[in-house]
């Protein structure tokens, strides 16, 4: 993989939480443009979504380096701001702005950050709502929507910034089972369109179908990674084997 092919380059990241829990232990991962990397997590669950949160500066790393699309995530305000603008994130708990309608949620960053006119923003918003399939809820408030609908709005809101990378932090874990499908469908569409995605999930079906590469992680380290087909068909590590045997 050549240097400009890599959109995310995380080298030897270390992160220890104040309690002494090691979340990331010299964690190294590079992601190609347009690649969908699915991170699945072993039963112990440590290092959970910390990696994603480090990628856009939500968590500070204790060691190592992160470069996103050629921009180093260092202590320069400008670089950090640029990275925040180029990396979209979808949370387990949606985090929509409850005092704004669906439309306003999606308009906000377009107007404030991308400096679009209201008309331009409104146009993008409606096309994104069409993409996630909830145009009819544009003027509703988040609490009037189901969990699945809220998460689809959250995806549309992140997409409104036209990010180069989308991070999904257990996006379906807080949803009722019957709503998981509608959110995964949107994520599949995005993957098919060539969006670079890093997805932390427990949904093995989605990982198999949409993932280009699987990373199996435990205790802050990569246990095994590989092309999706190879990973599921012939896991090399004993630990991966045992884990897949348990859940498949």
């Amino acid at each position: 993989m050549s240097a400009d092919e890599r959109i995310i380059e995380a080298r030897e990241i270390a992160k220890t939480f104040p309690g002494g829990v090691v979340a990331l232990d010299r964690f190294t991962l590079a992601v190609r443009r347009g690649e969908v990397v699915v991170i699945i997590i072993g039963p112990s669950g440590s290092g959970k979504s910390t990696f994603l949160r480090c990628l856009n500066g939500l968590e500070e790393i204790d060691g190592g380096s992160i470069v996103i699309d050629g921009i180093p995530l260092d202590h320069h305000r400008k670089n950090r701001l640029l990275i925040r603008q180029e990396v979209g994130m979808v949370f387990q708990s949606f985090n929509l702005f409850p005092h704004m309608t669906v439309r306003e949620n999606i308009d906000l960053a377009q107007i404030r950050v991308r400096k679009k006119t209201r008309t331009d923003a409104a146009e993008t918003t409606m096309s994104l709502l069409a993409k996630v399939g909830i145009t009819e809820k544009a003027d509703r408030y988040p609490h009037e929507l189901s969990g699945g609908q809220q998460q689809r709005v959250a995806i549309a809101r992140a997409l409104a910034m036209s990010p180069k990378v989308m991070l999904f932090d257990e996006a379906t874990s807080a949803l009722d089972p019957e709503m998981i499908g509608e959110v995964l469908d949107v994520m599949r569409t995005l993957a098919a369109e060539g969006m670079t995605m890093v997805v932390v999930t427990h949904e093995m079906g989605f990982a198999r179908e949409a993932g280009d590469r699987i990373v199996f992680m435990e205790n802050g380290r990569i246990v095994e990674e590989g092309e999706t087909e190879r990973f599921f068909a012939a896991p090399r590590e004993e630990r991966t084997h045992a884990f897949l045997g348990q859940i498949l």
């Binding site: 701001l81 990396v87 994130m89 708990s93 409850p98 005092h99 404030r112 950050v113 910034m161 807080a174």
Partner: protein, 280 residues
């Protein structure tokens, strides 16, 4: 019997009986209060002269309506209160943001201000501003009064606003962060609208305190409502009539503010205070 098991028609009868008893209690207490008041005033042999009060409110000599000293005082109190309220909110917000800032200097500054103001009496602060600071800044009594009141109430408003801001879920900050919003936009569009909505009731209480506390500015020769009352009492000895009237006027003002805030709260009810925006 469990409440949920009571048949519906019986429950409504029981509910209306409970309401009736409740009203009964209210009138009993009100009657008791009036009785005590009459007893007390009769005991001290006070000669009530309510008929002399209206001309201190307004006069209509020669068919021309003119505000009496009490209404003139009311106007001064209103001016001071409204200006101070505005400055209180600005100062309170600034101090709250300073306290939450990453900068040590800003935090220390806010902390010093809050501790100094909240741990000294307002009356002394008013004197301090009027006698020490106003000659330096070259401002008059009125501006001194507004400054002192705003500094005082601003410290309390700051803590109220800070409580509202930190009560929001971390996810709101994180979502704004991930959208690339700057600090100013995050506060203006995401954090403050929700925080203010949450702390509107205690903030209104602070506004009411401000109106009542403004009576202390009478000590620096400002002819507000309280000062006018004092003057009339010393000239006419109508102590109880005038003070009761003054208190009633303050009551009308504070009620007015409460009412306005409640109307505002009602209008902001487009979204629930808690539990919105996904799981907690």
């Amino acid at each position: 019997m469990k409440r949920g098991m009571t048949p519906l028609h019986l429950r409504s009868a029981a509910a209306s009986r409970a309401a009736l008893i409740d009203y009964g209690k209210f009138f009993l207490l009100a009657g008791l209060a009036v009785w005590l008041l009459t007893l007390g005033t009769r005991g001290m042999g006070y000669n009530w002269q309510w008929y002399r009060v209206p001309r201190f409110l307004f006069t209509t000599e020669g068919g021309v309506w003119a505000a009496g000293p009490l209404l003139q005082g009311l106007w001064v109190t209103l001016e001071i209160s409204l200006l101070s309220l505005l400055c209180t909110l600005i100062l309170g917000l600034t101090a709250a943001l300073f306290r939450l800032s990453d900068s040590f200097t800003a935090r220390a500054l806010a902390r010093g201000y809050l501790e100094l103001i909240r741990n000294t009496p307002l009356l002394i602060q008013i004197f301090f501003v009027y006698f020490v600071i106003s000659p330096v800044l070259d401002i008059g009594a009125f501006a001194s009064a507004v400054l002192a009141l705003s500094l005082f109430e601003g410290a309390y408003a700051a803590e109220i606003l800070r409580a509202g801001i930190v009560s929001l879920q971390r996810g709101q900050w994180e979502a704004a962060h991930c959208l690339g919003l700057g600090l100013f936009d995050t506060y203006r569009d995401v954090i403050l609208p929700q925080a203010v909505r949450r702390v509107l009731p205690p903030l209104a209480g602070q506004g009411i305190s401000l109106i009542k506390d403004s009576s202390l500015v009478s000590t620096i020769a400002i002819y507000d409502l309280t000062m006018q009352g004092q003057k009339i009492v010393s000239e006419t000895f109508l102590a109880f009539e005038i003070w009761f009237t003054v208190a009633a006027i303050y009551l009308v003002m504070t009620f007015g503010l409460s009412f306005a805030v409640r109307a505002l709260e009602h209008r902001m009810n487009g979204f629930p205070i808690r539990g919105a925006g996904g799981i907690a």
